[in-house]
Amino acid sequence: MSDTLNRERLLRAYRTMRTIREFEERVHTEFATGDIPGFVHLYAGEEASATGVCMHLRGDDYIASTHRGHGHCIAKGVDPVGMMAEIWGKSTGSCKGKGGSMHIADLSKGMLGANGIVGGGGPLICGTALAAKMKNDKTVGVCFFGDGASNQGTILEAMNLATVWSLPAIFVAENNGYAETTSSSWSVACDNIADRASAFGMPGVIVDGFDFFAVHEAAGEAVRRAREGGGPTLIEVKVSRYYGHFEGDQQTYRAAGEVQKLRDEKDCLLQFRRRVTADGDITDAELGTIDAEVLALIDDSVVRAKADPKPGPDDLLTDVYVSY
């Protein structure tokens, strides 16, 4: 698990971020056609966060995610084809169509689920980390949560517990400025979410969430410390979402041009491309190839998702219990 960013790893990072972006942009378009049911929260804009963190993770490390979970899933290795089918409610979906966008999970990939409950993942990741510690398997747990969730008791309790039990856990606060319509500058009573780290006896770091390299570096240190038994870290990723809270949101609470400015000036994919091609190690053409491959993958996932069968009546009553 070297975290040196060699060519291969840089290309992988780009592919992951591009896959998330393409996935989300495509869900956005498809949602507008009325074809996708339920509540859908898009991660576009925040790709560097999930990617920069999950690049450090092994398959058997766990992450707990949020209602805005597509990016975390993809970064942790969940199959986008199954995800797309899940979002369409098809039996071929990651969860056989029973979970939907807010509950995509794949425990075989260490992905403990998107979560419809804000803050729900904090305690859970303490649990996977506790198990890791007791099994001494050197795995870690990462809890992604939002600025809104940072005010939820479950997250705060989990941070205390992680330190008290000295768990290999990393808390990644994705501060995208809003919880639904509410500004984090209003709802979070201190200046930075990272300032809460000291209240729970752990290091706190702030990183620019548009900068993959910054996230990657901070996460690398936190993951290393956790693996070595050094306990938890809180990382605040300052970032933004490009779409509404959920699809359908008119976003009148945002400033005019806010998102466009970020897209133009800070976008994580643009920044990444500029930097790696400037370094000369990677060419625009290579990235273009990845773009095309990703596009094909997502196209395919949508075609399949549309064509795949829905679950049948028998599926309604199964999967509640192992035995009953």
């Binding site: 409610g89 969860c95 509410t182 009148t252 609470y253 009546p313 309604l316």
Partner: protein
């Protein structure tokens, strides 16, 4: 004067009128105005589905956004109720009750009793429930049986715009803690609603349809399904009486029992999961207190004992519907 407005508009109007009438009424919840601290518009949402939209500007300073900390702000609503306000706090989806239930069932519900009668907690907790939005297992539950189980709480479940307005006004004026359940699918339902203020009393069921053959007790969204079923059954000469309890705590036992005394047959329709549900509660009531009149088994039409599924294909099977009600009625109609 009655006009047709939606269930959602009826709720907004009830809040608006009560806020105008009584300065101690305040409204709070996540994004209940929307836009707090943000660079754009205030009252940006009026709640996640716009139910409280407009109140922020009409009642300055009395619609509060909150951080995401349901224990914190629901508990604050309860504390404020002990200190002279009449807060209406929104628990966005009832599915979130698990992060704040203590404040509701151990604090608000028990103050009066634990304190020897010397406390009043006139708080209203508005919350959305029910399936049909493809919102999956954590955003589609009913859960009113959990609140109904708790002594000290009152639980209102309006099934139409008229009751939504009248029950909410009653909830706000009521001096006990009230859980006010709003079915998300009903928000767009239209119905006659008087413009003037009125209240629907608690513990008085509505006899939605009269009939001699079978009693159907239905809750919330299930009332309209029961009406569809009754309509269809009428064609086969089966006359259903439909009772909408409107509040499950207090429950109007008399109206239910009288109806069963007449019909001798009962179907209870409850969108909840079946175990320890309102369906079983009402079945148990009738099996105890109107047994002598019963001519057939009491049927319960509920969701199955599974979490709400996401896929529309499954969710449509999950939710009780008119066809299932019809077949339950037919079954006990033919009994014995």
């Amino acid at each position: 004067m009655a006009r047709k407005i939606t269930y959602q508009q009826a709720i907004n109007e009830a809040l608006d009128q009560e806020m105008a009438r009584d300065p101690s009424v305040i409204v709070m919840g996540e994004d209940n105005a929307g836009g707090e601290g943000s660079p754009g518009e205030m009252d940006a949402w009026g709640g996640v589905l716009g139910v409280t939209k407009g109140l922020y500007h009409k009642h300055p300073g009395r619609v509060l956004d909150t951080p995401i900390s349901e224990s914190g702000f629901i508990g604050a609503a309860i504390g404020a109720a002990c200190n002279g306000l009449r807060p209406v706090a929104e628990l966005m989806f009832v599915d979130f009750m698990g992060v704040c239930f203590d404040q509701i069932f151990n604090q608000a519900a028990k103050f009066k009793y634990m304190f020897g009668g010397k406390a009043e907690t006139p708080v209203v907790i508005r919350t959305m429930y029910g399936a049909g939005f493809r919102a999956a297992a954590q955003h589609s539950q009913c859960l009113y049986s959990l609140f109904t189980h708790i002594p000290g709480l009152k639980v209102a479940i309006p099934s139409n715009p008229y009751d939504a307005k009248g029950l909410l006004i009653q909830s706000i004026r009521d001096n006990d803690p009230v859980i006010f359940m709003e079915h998300k699918v009903l928000y767009t339902m239209e119905g006659d609603v008087p413009e003037e203020s009125y209240s629907v009393p608690f513990g008085e069921a509505a006899v939605v349809r009269e009939g001699d053959d079978v009693t159907i007790v239905a809750l919330g969204r299930m009332v309209s399904f029961a009406q569809d079923a009754a309509q269809a059954l009428q064609k086969n000469g089966i006359h259903c009486e439909i009772i909408d309890p409107r509040t499950t705590s207090p429950l109007d036992e008399d109206t239910i029992l009288e109806s069963v005394e007449k019909t001798g047959r009962l179907v209870v329709v409850d969108e909840s999961n079946p175990r320890c549900s309102m369906a079983s509660d009402i079945a148990g009531l009738v099996a105890q207190k109107a047994f002598g009149a019963l001519k057939a088994p009491i049927e319960q039409v509920t969701a199955p004992h599974v979490p709400p599924p996401f896929s529309d294909a499954l969710e449509d099977l999950y939710i009780p519907n008119a066809a299932k009600i019809e077949s339950a009625v037919s079954k006990i109609r033919e009994y014995g």
